[in-house]
């Protein structure tokens, strides 16, 4: 298939992009029954997927495709737009179309029976169109347009169940947060344009592009005959990052993402886990040369902090989708961190692996929610079908869902043999290496990330154990025995396909080492930091062992309390013994070699060991409470504060609008004279 010319490939890319738009327009414009559109949408998106595969095969590790034509000319401004497909965009194109196709298939069952389902298909089409456009465009301005359009279609989908007040609120919040971010994006565009007089991504950011050729000398930033103060370079970088912060839900603009879980779960999985939130990361990768070291440190710190903070919050959540939402934020934090430390390729690699396993987690959670909701409706019960405290023991009823979700969880935790292991460890290793070359304070960043990754193991374990192990707590709650069913075939098969993508072989032949993964090798920007060989063994080991220990603690806390008869034969039981073994180990260490109080060994074990476990548990709870408070009060407060300041100013201004003509004239003349007096008697203006 190497015979395609550049023109053909650009044309194909254009077709792949326009097909979902075609389903959007077709469904909305052609009238029909309320449940129309599913076949049409799936057909279109599947064709897009097929085309994406062709494009990918033709572009990957070959010459990038770049086609342009004139867009508009006003005065001296000549805008060209076109299509730029390099490794990065070909990969993204494939990823998005693949996951979108799966989610489409899944939705046929998940959204079945919704009275306005045709709109759902239409909105999905619009979303896919904007996402494809965002990925293939070669112009920052057009990128910004698609960026907006992506946001817009996501609001449509979050607010899809608009009769719920919470959905409307969530919608509004997402909208405002993203607007704040867009301000940053626009500022960046303007700075870039005024320095370089072009917004062409290829000209600006390629090897030997304008950014590489511009240079900072002293306080000035030069490019050919233009120059401006060097601080604008930093501001531009920060501005673009701010834009990415909103879209990729980084601190402090992350709060919209958990709220956005009000939308249908299939939407959450496509948009708020796999694709749209990754747009920020994609943007950073696309314009990477713009960031100077100062901005990169900011990116790394924000990423690490976000990863840590979101992980602590996820520890105490009970809504299954919120846990996953916070874990998404945390993982996006990892990607940002990777960007900040120069590990662009691992960041994109993590983006890809994360897209698969997080999508799977959401879809599996969706299957669980779907079944419980079904049960709720059928029996006329009243309980929260997204609360993990109401679940339990589901692995008996939904074995396939359980196994696939387990695989995805292991990938999220980053245990060996999964895809997540490869990408996450690549990030951690590079961040440690980076910290080595940066100096002591910078070490905080990788250690924070490390800690966050341990917490990930714990909350994921908690989620899995609470949902799938033990007894169904609804039985206790309502005093009768319910039985649930496995998800329908359409949903189940999607889960299985995605589960395959959570394993290592598709990404790297070596299950323990990511450096030869084809995605990493295919992407530019290898880090310049020196390799520290010891980290390549030490870090994966530390991460994996700690993760396993934490899973066991999780099991002790959340899985063991249940008296399931067949536990003894399950493989998990052995692990529980090791947990016990570990407690003994602690006891020996504390009792013999440190404290030497043999007689009260057992009680000491109880107080110290459990105390420490409990204490650290408490600290984590406090920490997460603080984070959540910060989240709710400070960040939301900030948004609300902005709104209330705006209202206060507006109200102040309004007081002058008394309705009386002479007041108006009086104020007018007074303001005029005041201006005059200020200008010429006090020199204030």
């Amino acid at each position: 298939m190497d015979t395609f010319t550049k023109e053909t490939i650009s044309l194909l890319a254009l077709i792949a992009t326009l097909l979902p738009l075609f389903s959007f327009a077709g469904i909305l414009l052609v009238p029909g029954s309320r449940d129309r559109g599913s076949f049409f949408s799936i057909l279109n998106i599947a064709t897009s997927l097929l085309i994406s595969v062709v494009i990918f095969l033709n572009v990957w590790n070959k010459q990038p495709i770049h086609q342009q034509f004139d867009w508009f000319i006003i005065g001296d401004w000549r805008f060209k737009i076109g299509i730029l497909i390099n490794n990065l965009s070909a990969l993204m194109l494939l990823l998005i179309s693949f996951i979108a196709t799966l989610v489409h298939v899944y939705s046929t069952k998940y959204m079945e029976g919704d009275p306005y389902i045709f709109r759902y298909w239409a909105y999905l089409g619009l979303f896919c169109f904007s996402m494809f456009g965002l990925v293939i465009t070669d112009n920052l301005l057009l990128l910004y347009m698609f960026w907006e359009l992506v946001g817009f279609s996501s609001y449509l989908l979050i607010g899809f169940w608009f009769t719920r007040e919470t959905a409307v609120q969530a919608n509004k919040k997402a909208f405002l947060m993203n607007r704040l971010g867009d301000l940053g994006f626009l500022t960046g565009i303007m700075i870039v344009f005024s320095q370089f007089q072009t917004l062409d991504v290829n000209l600006l950011f390629s090897e030997g592009g304008f950014f590489k050729r511009s240079l900072v000398q002293g306080d000035l930033w030069y490019f050919s005959s233009n120059h401006m103060p060097a601080v604008w370079l930093t501001i531009a970088g920060l501005a673009f990052f701010f834009g990415a912060t909103a879209k990729s839900a980084q601190f402090p603009l992350h709060t919209w993402l958990p709220d956005a879980m009000e939308g249908p779960t299939s939407v959450s999985s496509l948009i708020h886990a796999a694709t749209m939130v990754a747009a920020g990361v994609f943007l950073i990768a696309r314009i990477y040369p713009i960031f100077n070291p100062t901005v990169l440190i900011v990116i790394a710190s924000i990423g690490a902090f976000t990863a840590f903070m979101a992980a602590t919050i996820a520890l105490t959540q009970n809504d299954i989708k919120r846990i996953l939402a916070y874990s998404t934020i945390s993982q996006l934090g990892f990607m940002m961190l990777a960007m900040g430390v120069g590990a662009v390729a691992p960041a994109i690699f993590h983006l890809v692996t994360h897209a698969f396993f997080k999508c799977l987690l959401f879809l599996a959670a969706g299957a669980v929610i779907h079944e419980l909701h079904h049960l709720k409706d059928k029996k006329g019960l009243d309980f929260d079908h997204q609360d993990i405290r109401n679940m339990g023991g589901l692995r008996k009823f939904m074995p396939i869902t359980f196994i696939t979700m387990l695989l995805a969880s292991l990938a999220l935790i980053g245990l060996p043999f999964t895809s997540g292991y490869l990408s996450k460890d690549a990030i951690l290793i590079q961040s440690f290496e980076w910290a080595e070359s940066q100096g002591s304070i910078a070490r905080i960043i990788p250690y924070t990330a490390l800690f966050a990754s341990w917490m990930t193991a714990f909350y994921v374990a908690r989620l899995i154990f609470k949902v799938f192990f033990g007894e169904l707590r609804l039985n206790v709650l309502f005093g009768q025995a319910f039985s649930l069913h496995e998800a329908p075939v359409a949903m189940k098969s999607v889960l299985v396909v995605l589960a395959i993508f959570c394993l290592f072989p598709l990404f790297s032949l070596n299950p323990f080492h990511a450096s030869h993964a084809w995605i990493i090798e295919g992407l530019p920007y290898f880090s310049t930091t020196p390799t520290v060989e010891s980290y390549h063994i030490l870090i994966p080991a530390v991460v994996s062992i700690a993760a396993i220990i934490l899973i066991l603690i999780g099991y002790k806390w959340y899985g063991k309390n249940e008296k399931a008869p067949d536990y003894t034969k399950a493989a998990v039981f052995r692990f529980s013994q090791e947990q016990w073994y570990l407690n003994r180990l602690y006891k020996v260490m504390f009792v013999d070699s440190v404290l030497g109080l043999a007689r009260t060994a057992f009680s000491f074990d109880r107080t110290i060991v459990d105390g420490i476990v409990n204490f650290s548990g408490k600290i984590i709870i406090v920490l997460s409470a603080v984070s959540e408070w910060l989240d709710r009060k400070v960040v939301d407060g900030l948004v609300n504060g902005v709104a209330s300041v705006a209202r206060t100013i507006g109200n102040f201004v309004r007081h002058f609008q008394t309705g009386r003509l002479q007041h108006y004239l009086l104020f007018m003349i007074l303001i005029l004279l005041t201006f005059f007096v200020l200008k010429y008697f006090s020199q204030a203006i």
Partner: protein
């Protein structure tokens, strides 16, 4: 010869009196009269300076146009004030404040 500054003085005083009338009177027609004072003050300036602009006579011509335009504006404003009176039974501008924030 009367110095120009004296004309300016008269016009400034007349203008300020007009401003006062516009801001304080409780009758829309008095406001109109105040506006006429302000216009007359401006016209006086034009006329006074026009003395030194014999050929172009910009000032005097400007004054003529201003007088004519003012008359038209007064006619329209009076028609409007009459309409207001028809609905509010008053022309006190402090009482006509239904449109407000």
């Amino acid at each position: 010869m009367i110095p120009l500054s004296h004309y300016m003085l008269i016009s400034a005083a007349l203008f300020s009196i007009g401003i006062y009338a516009v801001l304080s009177k409780r009758n829309a027609i008095m406001i109109l009269i105040g506006i006429e004072f302000m216009l007359n003050a401006a016209i006086l300036n034009f006329v006074a300076f026009s003395k030194h602009d014999k050929f172009a006579a910009s000032g005097q011509v400007f004054a003529l146009f201003a007088i004519v335009l003012a008359a038209a504006a007064v006619a329209v404003s009076l028609a409007i004030i009459l309409n207001v009176y028809k609905y509010y039974k008053t022309i006190d501008p402090t009482k006509i404040d239904k449109l407000r924030d």
